[in-house]
Symmetry: C2
Subunit: 109 residues, 2 copies
């Protein structure tokens, strides 16, 4: 079995000011990553779920970008409210949070 039931990768990439792609760092990704980490620990999920910092996930326009493996589900997580919904629905109940899914064109092969 996979080491983690859910392994989240949260892009915290920072591009230079003025870069037309934008970046997740300027959209609050560092705070979101810390929030995920704390809330996962608070729920006793350490070792079962891991929230990892990641470099550019190449979905800059859709950021803050979060991908959850092994499923390969791609979310736009804009704020702590969104993050809480991912934790409470996806991580705790295994439900996909449809409203936060990236558009198919960004999230599928």
């Amino acid at each position: 079995m996979s080491k983690y039931k859910y392994h989240l990768f949260i892009c915290t990439n920072r591009r230079p000011v003025g870069d037309s792609k934008g970046c997740c760092a300027t959209k609050g990704a560092d705070d979101l990553r810390s929030f995920f980490k704390e809330e996962i620990a608070n729920r006793g999920l350490k070792g079962v779920v891991r929230a990892n910092q990641a470099g550019c996930l190449d979905t800059c326009a859709m950021g803050p970008s979060v991908v959850i493996y092994p499923e390969g589900v791609w979310y736009t997580v804009k704020n702590r409210e969104d993050a809480l919904e991912v934790i409470e629905k996806h991580l705790l109940k295994g439900e996909i949070v449809e409203r936060l899914l990236m558009p198919r064109s960004w999230a599928r092969g």
Copy 2:
């Protein structure tokens, strides 16, 4: 289907000098990450395979640490020779590189 056939996460975490856990950064992880990225592009796999930088994967003693999703296969990739073997066997032929697998106690849930 998953956006990427193979999504590699390469830990490049750096801990303070003297930290007993050690870290992947001091074992050449940044070079390995660049090498994976270049070799994947050279083989025309851009968009199919992605080599991502990641923060601490919590397998410090086994680093440099690489996990490949969606399979969740954990490797110790010590040098460019190891990286080439992962590329040529795992990424191109779908074969597990047994000799580079992390011990079960580190890599399984």
